[in-house]
Every structure is written in structure tokens, then in C-alpha cells.
Symmetry: C2
Subunit: 278 residues, 2 copies
DNA sequence: AACTTCATGTCGCGG
DNA sequence: CCGCGACGTGAAGTT
């Protein structure tokens, strides 16, 4: 059963309010409003946004987004609202506006959207979206691949423990090298920065403190490292190992993990995208 | 001049493609598409999303958002695309889909949205939004308030330097207490955690290293502190000072800073919101 | 519920 | 353009 879409072009404010109330009360719809509005927010922070043309989205679960005509981020939002109210308000200059008030419970945050002119409002009832979202190449997967194929870090390296708890936090990989040294490995899926180095240093120090008479190496594994981070790394006597995440992925992401057609398709896509880039 | 809104309800795929191409080519419109689609992404990461009903937004600046019917975050997106293409594709089962291909330049990322059924498409040309976005209560403002009113941290404290550079980073506030001790202050606008404590510790240590024969105190200023952070703080011999950000703000946010009507309005709003919460 | 860590984080600022 | 830190970060997972 396809979703039911209802809409008004250039609705009067009274119509808009009625439309919104109707679709918020019965069964929650996805609401799309294109309108001139101002926005106030108060909660963990507070903000004011003057009048302008914006896209307002209200999702069935109470998420509210106010988008300006540019950029990725909503200018104001509510991840989920406990209370959603629509009412008319008369401004000082006796102009009327439709107010959408969204209140989030914890942390308590209030969002007020004042609409002075609406260009389009639409509501969709019965949207269905149960598809699985499959993501690749996140830190966990890289870590698992390297745990199974430590030779990609260094020949002779043997991984003893994945996500080894230490005070405080977790070591991504812990192993023993060909010389019998303890090796602590910190993995980053993006350019390693100073804080990654500090984190590794902390783990190495903590390990040394607990095991005073053993030799410990610290290796930072990442696709690249910032200049400052490299300097600090050298200063601390730690090491850097560059990896190519995509290559690792192509090489090792195991068949059993992408056995379903759905999972396999991503690799086809990567191939296509790579071709398309030339 | 109000924006021009064009739309189709339940467009055929060919119509959809034509509509999109038209509004993407001439002058960029804000595009809203409610449709059943699947999405592939490849770039810094990679993902696959099967078919489902979603809201697709394409902004005039090339930002692309794919929203599922719930939650704050888009499931797939492109912060700004360099290339935006729309074309028809025939699947293996000979069904046709409209493909929206968005390519981001740096980092190179490709987004493919395959639409199998469209419920609504709308385009808005000439949206105007030049309003200023004013935000309050961010770390910078809290820092400035405390710099002007150090007695809120401790009686007799005198602030010498704001954003004092140190190796590495910047001390939020640096001052001298009533006993003549150096005081290093780190401010957080949310619950202070372990990393905030470490950051402060680092600054204090760096200061001590540079000034070996002076006494230094480190104060973490925040609305609250996590249990673990407090433990570590005590271990390091550092101090915590609790502040109430909203109270500070009400008390000190200076008249000259909110001299314009616009800026003043946020306080009215906060009042109203506070009343509304009862 | 508190807290930690990851993220296709995004965004802005400074060198 | 890098690199770093703040963010109303959000979201997921663990204690």
C-alpha cells in the first residue's frame, strides 16, 4: 500500500494550522513545510533566527528539522519531541503567525517556529522503510580485518587480544611481535592527529606501569598522520604504520560476510564508482 | 518576490527525471522528493541501503540529504556536490529507475540514489534567507563573562589573560588568585569528562615545566562533572568549580551586547520558555 | 540513567 | 588547504 500524500500550495495560515494539527493528531505523518519563518531555541544553548525562507520537516517520530536553503546541517532542530503543538499567535504589529512548538523532554529544550507565510505544505501518511542500512569500512571492521591479518601491520606480529581493557579505556589491538615484545596498536580510520598519539601514549604508559619489566612498543595504524602528530609520536618513541583501508577491504573483507546479494552489491558499486571517476 | 513553487504529485519516472533535470539546470532550486528509493554511497566510508520510502532534499548549493521517516540524522548525504546528474537506468529485472548521482570533489565521494517510485516532487526557486543566526551560551561567551567577572569562580581571582597560548593549545583563562598563585582555568559548557581533566592537567604540567618555581592551580569550570572525571581531578590535585550557565548569562550578558531588538528578544523568549515549562 | 567512544561527523577559525 | 577544537554535536553500546 503506497503512502497517502496530502498537500496545499500557498495555504493561508489558518489552513496551514488546521492541516498541521490534523496530520499531527490522527496518525503521525511526515510533514514538509516550505515557509517564511523565524525560529527561537532554548535549551542546552539558545538561539534566535530572523525571518527567512526555510524547509521545515516534522517526522512521524517527532524529529523536527529547520533547514536553510544551503548546507548540510539544519539551522535548528529537535532530535525527538515529546510535545508538538501548533497554534496561532498575534504579533505586536497585529500580524498573525502559525507557531509550531516542539518540546524535548531530556534535556529539556524548546523550539518555536513562527511561520508568517507558507508556500507549500505536504503530509505523507504510511511511509514504509524497513530496509537494512549496511555500512562498511568503519573502525570496527578495520580492526577485525587487522586482527585476522596482523601481517598487514608487520610480519611476525601475533594478535593476542582485541579490544583489550586497560586503565582507562580499551586498546584496539594487543599482540606480540617476532622479537617477543608487547605491542599496543591504536587504529584510526582517518588521518591520525595529536590526540590519537596522546591516546596511544597513555595506553603504553599504563601498560608499562602495570608490567614494569617488559618491553612495549606502541604502533599507530592509520591511512595518514598529521605532521604535528608524527613529531609527537617520534618524541614519544612510538611508531606509525600506514594502511590503505580500501585495499585492505578489497583484499580481506570475507566472502561469508558478504554472502548475501545485498552485501555483495557494495563491491560492485565501488567498482562502478571507481570506473566512473576516470 | 515570493519563491516560485512547482510540483508533481505521483509523477511517472520519466516526468520526475525531466522535472529534476529542468530545475537543476536552469537556476538551482530547492528540490524535495518523496519517493521509494535505494541508496549507495562510497567515499570515506561506504554503505548500502535497500528500498524504502524516504525524503530526498537537494539544496541550491548542491547539498543532498536522504532522510528516513525517523530520526534527526540523514541516512545518506552529501554536504555539497560538485556534480549532480539525473538519468534513467534499467535494472536487471528490466524495471526502470531514476538515478540521482551526486559527486563530491574533495574528499571524493559518490552518492547514488535510485528511485523506483515517486510520491511527490517539488521545486522552489528564489528562496530568500539572509537573516542572521544568533547563538547564545556557547563556550566563548561563557569564557568572556567569566573573564569579566572572575569573582564567580573565586573571590579575589584576577584574570590576566584570555585564550593564553601554551604548548600545545590555548588556556581558556589564566589568572592570579588572592594568594598570588598562578591559576589555569579550563571551561566546559557541558558536563566535564575525563578528557577535560586531562586537557587541564596537560596545560598545568606545561606551565609548570616552563615556570618551575611558581605555584600553579588548575580549575575546571563547568556546570557539572562526571564521577570518573572528578576522581581523576582529585588524583591530579586539580579543582572543580561548578557554575550555572543560565544564571551567569542572565546576570551578566551585557546590555551593549544585546542592544539591538533582535538580540534582546532571546531573553524574552527564555522567560517565556521558562514560564511555559511550569 | 550515566558515561564512553565513534562518526562519511560538520563547521568555523587560525596558520 | 591542513590541522585543531567545539558542537544544542547525534547515535550506539556498555556499565
Amino acid at each position: 500500500m503506497p503512502p497517502i500524500v496530502d498537500f496545499h500550495l500557498q495555504p493561508q495560515l489558518e489552513e496551514l494550522a488546521k492541516f498541521l494539527r490534523q496530520h499531527l493528531s490522527v496518525r503521525r505523518a511526515l510533514l514538509i513545510i516550505l515557509a517564511n519563518c523565524s525560529v527561537e531555541y532554548e535549551g542546552r544553548s539558545a538561539s534566535h533566527l530572523g525571518e527567512g525562507d526555510r524547509l521545515i520537516i516534522i517526522k512521524p517520530d517527532g524529529a523536527v528539522l529547520v533547514h536553510r536553503p544551503w548546507g548540510y546541517s539544519p539551522v535548528n532542530w529537535q532530535p525527538d519531541s515529546k510535545v508538538l503543538e501548533v497554534f496561532m499567535e498575534t504579533k505586536h504589529n497585529s500580524e498573525k503567525v502559525v507557531v509550531i512548538k516542539s518540546v524535548r523532554a531530556r534535556p529539556r529544550e524548546v523550539l518555536l517556529i513562527r511561520i508568517s507565510k507558507a508556500y507549500l505544505v505536504a503530509a505523507a501518511q504510511g511511509l514504509e522503510d524497513s530496509a537494512e542500512f549496511v555500512e562498511y569500512l568503519d573502525e570496527r571492521q578495520i580492526r577485525d580485518i587487522l586482527a585476522s591479518h596482523p601481517e598487514e601491520i608487520e610480519p611476525g606480529l601475533r594478535i593476542v587480544r582485541v579490544e583489550k581493557p586497560i586503565e582507562p579505556g580499551f586498546i584496539d589491538l594487543y599482540g606480540i611481535d617476532s622479537q617477543g615484545n608487547n605491542v599496543i596498536i591504536e587504529i584510526k580510520r582517518v588521518t591520525a592527529n595529536v590526540s590519537a598519539v596522546k591516546q596511544l601514549k597513555e595506553y603504553v604508559d599504563a601498560f608499562k606501569a602495570k608490567n614494569p619489566h617488559t618491553r612495549v612498543r606502541g604502533i599507530l595504524v592509520a591511512p595518514s598522520i598529521s605532521k604535528e602528530a608524527l613529531l609527537l609520536l617520534n618524541k614519544y618513541g612510538l611508531e606509525f604504520k600506514q594502511i590503505n583501508i580500501e585495499k585492505l577491504y578489497r583484499k580481506y573483507f570475507s566472502l561469508e560476510k558478504r554472502s548475501t546479494q545485498k552485501h555483495a552489491s557494495i563491491l560492485d558499486f565501488i567498482e562502478k564508482a571507481a570506473l566512473g571517476s576516470r
